[in-house]
């Protein structure tokens, strides 16, 4: 289902780590979890439940694909959850604002969806420029925008919730709830983004530059890689991914509130790391990231389908599984 191209075909300095295990750890972990889930509750293995889990994974999964690029390039983005929330809020405001102008609802929704992607790209671009031209650590830049994005959403929403106009919500609904050939739309989009990401990472010069920069930025610079441009593109790409995730998210609840997207940044980072990408950058795989994201959703799905563990310990179970999978995935020297 997902590409497993984890080979480092580049002549980049990442060659040192080129001999890498494929995403065996997370796949193994996911398989084990699925067996446990089926044993605990027969409903786990049903198609409907599988599609539910995949659909809700789509948001984090799509963001994680973008995050994978950023982390491979040696960067980080802590703001994606707040960014998603702000994009959701702004597009809802925008759609509600232009709906009374007499445009057909479908056009209004299209404008909203385009705005989501555009906003994401702009925010990502701003991150990239601050990091490269401004010479500020990505951790600091995105820590700053994490606060800025969420504060503006809270301000726009007056602390409450921004809710999409009902007629628009009906028109927009199918983008989340609709399906094609029995598979929900968000899952198709997730597959497309993952395939695109894998191609970009493993089959283009840009992908090789990203890996080279993460592996050793100085060497990449000497090798005539335009480091700044590549980095800016990487953050913009993540922004676009956040925009796509948000345009799928908005029709789900038709609203955005200050709790929207809370801790998504950590989920996306966890998906990337569980998927076998090194936090220090240089190498990673989209396939592993996809498996990592699904794995995280499956854990909470299983916990919801059973009641054998105290509800207070849910987060602990997730933590144990993440560490266990990362352990299986650890790279041998």
């Amino acid at each position: 289902m997902q590409p497993e191209h984890t080979d480092n075909t580049g002549k980049a300095p990442a060659a040192r780590r080129a001999l890498r295990l494929p995403a065996v750890g997370p796949l193994l972990g996911l398989a084990l979890l699925c067996i446990v889930g089926t044993m605990l509750n027969g409903e786990f293995a049903t198609v409907d439940n599988g599609l539910n889990v995949l659909t809700r994974t789509a948001f984090i999964g799509i963001i994680a694909v973008g995050m994978c690029f950023v982390i491979i390039s040696g960067g980080i983005d802590l703001s994606v959850g707040s960014m998603a929330a702000l994009i959701a809020g702004v597009t809802i405001l925008l759609m509600n604002r232009i709906a009374p102008l007499g445009w057909p609802p479908v056009a209004v929704v299209m404008v909203g969806m385009a705005a989501a992607v555009l906003l994401g790209a702009l925010f990502g671009l701003a991150h990239g420029l601050l990091i490269t031209r401004g010479r500020i650590e990505p951790f600091i830049v995105t820590l700053g925008t994490l606060g800025i994005f969420r504060a503006y959403l809270t301000y726009f929403a007056d602390g409450g919730a921004l809710t999409l106009d009902n007629t628009l919500a009906d028109v927009y609904g199918p983008v989340y709830y609709g399906s094609l050939l029995g598979v929900p739309i968000p899952v198709w989009v997730f597959i497309a983004v993952a395939l695109g990401g894998a191609l970009l990472l493993n089959r283009t010069a840009y992908g090789r530059y990203v890996q080279a920069i993460g592996s050793n930025e100085q060497v990449a610079r000497y090798a005539a890689v335009d480091v700044d441009r590549t980095k800016v593109l990487t953050y913009a790409l993540l922004g676009v991914c956040v925009g796509i995730a948000t345009l799928l998210y908005v029709p789900r609840l038709g609203s955005a509130s200050p709790t929207t997207g809370l801790l998504w940044e950590l989920e996306a980072i966890a998906a990337v790391i569980v998927g076998g990408t090194a936090l220090r950058g240089g190498a990673g795989s989209i396939g592993g990231t996809v498996v990592g994201a699904i794995l995280l959703s499956v854990i909470s799905n299983i916990l919801n389908l059973t009641s054998i563990i105290s509800v207070y310990l849910n987060a602990a179970v997730q933590g144990f599984v993440i560490i266990a999978v990362a352990f299986m995935q650890r790279r041998r020297p």
């Binding site: 409903e43 809700r56 809270t154 602390g159 609840l253 919801n304 389908l305």
Partner: protein, 320 residues
């Protein structure tokens, strides 16, 4: 155990007090500080809104000054408390502590300096640090829906529950709910998971409940935000077995739904309005102006909201 004094009487006294021209005669100057959490979610936004409303009304009286500080964490709130004492030189304080344990000492210090302290909602760990306590009724928040659901289901059926963020308030509500359900052996509470007072989490938890249980008669969503996510999950699964979704706290969108009767699943709600802050601020300021004290404990009742009385709980200007 708590000295339950119904709000109605107090509110009546407060309203008469404010309106009365007599007040001006025997009035002390009041410099009141209000320390509350910042508007990071809709309930807190409601708190900020109601604090502002109280300030607007009270400051019509030139002898009353109200300073509002919103904090996004316990340490920030403690700092603001210091500013209120040293820079604003307040003589009265209404505080909704961000965290009970962390704020107890700072509040005790304020009281030791002669500030009159009213604590709202989240209590302190040492009640000696306060003069008065005003809170919502968390027991009723669990009890009222339980009684309503038991009656609506005629004592027979399956219920799933969604809980908030793991906290003592949440435990109090859940315990009260379970206590009522014990008297109704025909009703099964299938499970209670944490939806964290959040639409997204509630949506996922409900999706999984729907996968897991083939027959659900009612959902106790225990909060209107969570009820919102629950409704979407039910809609998506096209399930017809669920007859009632009971939210809570009387968010304006839900109260509006009740008033309009626009969703057959939404038949009742239970009040837990951030307006109690407004009441607490007014009661404190007016009592202080007259040199009086508040009762040690005031519980703002959580009552059943139905289509009939919904308009009394509808505040269209509030963000909550």
């Amino acid at each position: 155990m708590k000295n339950r004094i119904r709000l109605h009487a107090l509110a009546a006294v407060a309203t008469i007090g404010l309106a009365s021209p007599l007040l001006a005669q025997a009035q002390n100057k009041v410099n009141l500080g209000v320390a509350i959490p910042a508007a990071t979610h809709s309930f807190a936004a409601g708190l900020v809104y109601w604090a502002g409303e109280a300030k607007k009304e009270l400051e019509k009286d030139p002898n009353i000054k109200v300073t509002i500080k919103t904090a996004s964490g316990a340490p920030e709130q403690a700092n603001q408390l210091q500013d209120l004492l040293t820079a604003t030189k307040i003589d009265s304080l209404v505080i909704l502590p961000f965290e009970s344990a962390a704020l107890t000492r700072p509040v005790a210090q304020a009281k030791a300096k002669g500030v009159y302290v009213t604590v709202v909602d989240r209590g302190l760990t040492d009640t000696a640090a306060q003069d008065a306590y005003v809170s919502g009724d968390n027991t009723a928040f669990g009890k009222v829906p339980a009684e309503y659901l038991a009656k609506a289901l005629n004592g027979k059926g399956n219920i799933v529950a969604l809980r908030g963020i793991p906290t003592t308030i949440d435990n109090e509500r859940m315990d009260a709910f379970n206590a009522v359900m014990k008297n109704h052996p025909g009703i099964k509470v299938l499970d209670a998971k944490h939806g964290n007072w959040n639409r997204d989490d509630a949506f996922k938890v409900m999706q999984d409940y729907l996968t897991r249980f083939k027959q659900i008669d009612a959902v106790w969503a225990a909060d209107d935000d969570m009820a919102f996510g629950v409704l979407r999950a039910i809609e998506q699964a096209k399930r017809k077995d669920i007859r009632i979704v009971f939210g809570g706290a009387g968010a304006k969108a839900m109260v509006k739904t009740l008033m309009d009767g626009s969703n057959p699943l939404i038949q009742a709600n239970v009040s837990y309005s951030p307006k109690f802050l407004y009441d607490a601020i007014k009661m404190t300021a007016l009592a202080r102006a007259k040199g009086e004290k508040l009762p040690a404990n005031t519980i703002v009742p959580s009552v059943l909201i139905t289509k009939q009385n919904a308009k009394d709980f509808y505040f269209p200007n509030s963000p909550f």
